[in-house]
């Protein structure tokens, strides 16, 4: 599809892959049947739905009956937290969905380092005898920093073992919100060592409002939406057949192209980063220099009002996100940037550039030039 803009906000939304759209389409029209109905066409639809779930499970190395399909990552997170009654450990820089869900419980927020990295050691120190859930995102949505999930999983496993030895029968689970980064990182649940995993179709060129929660078979979930008893009674409501078919296709494609795509995006991102840093040596890069999502670039221009840059770039058909505050929420800067200790005048000049399918070498080179022009123009204006 020909597009007349350069899109650099893939962490916010991705366009539906045409192959995904094609896979979904029949389930809105010809195969509209309710998978719970008794006649043959419905049974076929149910079979397709189950096959899609099996494919999703396969992509993350899980069993199909361990998946609960939801209307997106926020719902998955709410479901993961819903059955917990004890203490929760999560990170200060987590997404609001996790932070708000944590606030319903006695909770401890773990600090990250200046790159947004949450260390396994810090998580270990925060765990108490009554901690029932540790929830850490696979990658931070603002900075792109990838967390050491395997190490954190090790900490949780050790805690579990120690509790057994001590006769403490409180269960402890590790939940990972992997919505950000699923297209670029390995999300095999066994390799990650997590007990629950949240995924979202919308970030991998699938449909919006489709997500899943995988929970290991020993995790007891409490349904947050009750009704007809779909999804093993854990999430009622007629199945979003088309959405789940699309999700399966999207995850299949993402897994298949992950290696190639993450290498490609890392190259493009590094090129853009180099161009911008050469033009503005005072620019501040945030996020971990090495453990960072391939397409993710968080860059701050101290003293510049990033929201003005977003509007100026919008005018040039380049779509980017501010890394922090906008005028409408004066004074409330991004909690992530505050948490990693970014000074206000740096945080306010932050752009989040996230690359993806819509970008290639030509468009990234163009975007680099346009961004430089607009930031220079703004710096000139402020100087006057």
């Amino acid at each position: 599809m020909k597009r007349d803009f350069i899109y650099l906000d893939h962490a916010a939304a991705t366009p539906l892959d045409e192959r995904v759209a094609k896979a979904m389409a029949p389930y809105y029209t010809d195969r509209f049947f309710n998978p719970s109905s008794p006649y043959a066409p419905s049974i076929e639809v149910r079979r397709d739905y189950e096959a899609a779930k099996a494919s999703l499970a396969h992509s993350i190395g899980a069993r199909p009956d361990e998946l609960v399909m939801t209307a997106g990552a926020t719902e998955s997170i709410n479901l993961a937290f819903g059955g917990i009654s004890g203490h929760v450990v999560t990170a200060e820089i987590e997404h609001h969905a996790v932070l708000r869900a944590s606030e319903k419980h006695d909770h401890t927020l773990v600090k990250s380092d200046e790159h947004g990295l949450v260390s396994a050691e810090a998580v270990k120190l925060a765990i108490r005898p009554d901690t029932q859930l540790v929830s850490i995102a696979l990658a931070n949505n603002e900075l792109g920093t990838v967390q050491p999930l395997r190490e954190i999983a090790e900490v949780v496993r050790n805690e579990r073992r120690a509790r057994l030895d001590r006769g403490n029968r409180t269960l402890i689970y590790l939940h990972c919100d992997a919505s950000q980064g699923v297209g670029q990182l390995d999300v095999n649940v066994a390799r990650l060592g997590v007990d629950m995993l949240t995924l979202n179709a919308a970030k991998i060129y699938g449909p919006k409002q489709v997500g899943l929660l995988w929970a290991a078979s020993d995790v007891r979930l409490t349904p947050q939406i009750v009704g007809g008893g779909q999804e093993r009674n854990l999430r009622s409501g007629t199945e979003n057949v088309a959405g789940v078919i699309g999700f399966a296709k999207a995850l299949e494609l993402a897994t298949e192209h992950r290696k190639y795509e993450s290498d490609r995006l890392a190259q493009l991102r590094d090129q853009l980063e180099k161009t911008l840093v050469e033009a503005f040596p005072q620019a501040v890069l945030s996020g971990h220099p090495r453990h960072r999502l391939a397409g993710h670039l968080h860059i701050s221009f101290p003293g510049v009002d990033a929201e003005r840059i977003v509007f100026a770039l919008e005018n040039r058909d380049v779509l980017v996100a501010t890394g922090s505050a906008c005028a409408a929420n004066q004074g409330t800067r991004s909690h992530v940037l505050t948490a990693i200790g970014l000074a206000p005048e740096v945080a306010d000049g932050s752009l989040r550039l996230t690359l993806g399918h819509l970008n290639d070498e030509v468009s990234i080179a163009q975007a680099g030039e346009i961004i430089i022009e607009e930031i220079k123009r703004e710096m000139e204006r402020v100087k006057r």
Partner: protein, 393 residues
């Protein structure tokens, strides 16, 4: 280069205002005034979007942009005033109060303190400074012909004077200062909302849209590619616009049911849920069933009674004279005589005789004027000059 702070609301009018002033060579800063907003369940006040739009246009124009937070002042001077007036059984106009207290007082003062020489808004009205001693906002300059010529240079500054006014909080100096005049677009004219602004304040005000019609403004905004060129006009004030005044008020006053009484027969016709919600002349919302429409002709706030009639010729609907108090003159008080008056925004200008009774103004329209509720404003004109007005007693 005079420094102008333009009140930018995120709408097309104030966007073009900023664009025109910039083209004329002014040093323009856009200012979004954050007024009081209230979160209503299920309603989204669009102020955040409006602020973003205002800033977008400022970026397009390459001008500075600021946010002035007037939430507390707006709450006290406009919202509380409005609720109090309704509680007294009157029908106030919050837009008039907003202009008097916020836009042409607080905004003006804050802007001048911040280094501005002038302020501007997207109101459809004209300021004539030719008779005043201010050289700053001369009207020919404030009314561009839409030309883009860049060799026009703004007039010299009377800077001592601007500094002096900046510190004043009382604009009640008498004598002829700047005149407020009808907009060229008589359909859009907003002088009705501006009659309580002082002449001295007007010396510091530019209304670049006063000589254009609304369609011209849209066209000029479109020509300039302004982001807001096609944006719909906002409906009313943010905090009541979306839900309506009735729902808004019911959050602040108890709903106490009372009788609806036929004024002529004295018969109780039905029940209402609070006299406060009714306005003289109102026709709708009485739920009295079929037949001829009923009109509200009076109410007794103490007894919580609303009086209605089907008689369109009822005396209380057609008053031969209107008494105004809280009278405000933009410049000096006019002498007794014949003038034009306007009883609500966009109502036709009608002839009336003006006389004084102490502090009060008595207006006798040539032909009886249809019900004007207590608390509403009547604005007085001499030709195209808006002289001021008062509030129906």
């Amino acid at each position: 280069m005079p420094k102008v702070y333009v009140g930018m609301s995120g709408g097309v009018d104030s966007s073009l205002t900023a664009a025109l002033l910039k083209e004329q060579g002014y040093d323009v800063t856009g200012v979004y005034m954050k007024n009081w907003t209230q979160d209503m369940p299920g309603m989204r006040c669009p102020w955040a979007d409006d602020l973003a739009d205002a800033k977008r246009v400022a970026v397009q124009l390459g001008i500075d942009f600021k946010v002035f937070d007037f939430e507390n002042e707006y709450r006290h001077k406009v919202v509380d005033y409005m609720i109090d007036e309704y509680k007294r059984g009157r029908t106030p106009n919050p837009d008039i109060m907003c202009n008097q207290e916020v836009k042409f007082k607080l905004f003006l003062e804050t802007a001048l303190e911040d280094g501005a020489d002038l302020i501007a808004t997207g109101h459809y009205a004209r300021v004539d400074n030719s008779a005043s001693d201010s050289a700053m906002a001369n009207s020919s300059y404030a009314q561009p012909a839409g030309a883009h010529s860049s060799d026009e240079v703004p007039p010299a500054l009377a800077s001592e004077r601007s500094a002096e006014i900046g510190r004043k909080t009382d604009f009640t100096v008498s004598g002829r200062l700047a005149q407020l005049k009808l907009a060229a677009d008589t359909n859009k004219d907003q002088t009705y909302f501006l009659y309580r602004v002082s002449g001295e304040a007007l010396q510091k005000v530019l209304f670049p849209l006063g000589s254009f019609t609304k369609p011209q403004v849209r066209e000029m905004a479109r020509e300039r590619g302004l982001y807001t060129a096609a944006k719909k006009d906002s409906q009313g004030i943010c905090f009541v616009g979306q839900i309506g005044i009735r729902d808004f008020l019911s959050q602040y006053v108890e709903q106490v049911p009372g009788d609806i009484i036929d004024k002529t027969t004295g018969k109780v016709l039905g029940r209402h849920d609070g006299a406060i919600f009714y306005t003289i002349g109102q026709r709708h919302g009485l739920d009295l069933g079929g037949g001829l429409p009923y009109y509200v002709v009076g109410k007794d706030m103490d007894k919580n009674e609303v009086y209605v009639t089907t008689n369109l010729n009822d005396d209380s609907l057609w008053k031969p004279e209107v008494e105004l108090d809280e009278v405000h003159w933009i410049n000096e008080a006019p002498s007794e005589g014949d003038y034009k008056i306007r009883v609500r925004h966009r109502a036709a200008l009608v002839d009336a005789h003006l006389s004084y009774d102490g502090d009060k103004v008595i207006l006798k329209p040539t032909s009886p004027e249809r019900a004007v509720a207590a608390g509403q404003s009547v604005v007085i004109y001499d030709g195209e000059v808006c002289l001021g007005g008062g509030i129906v007693a």
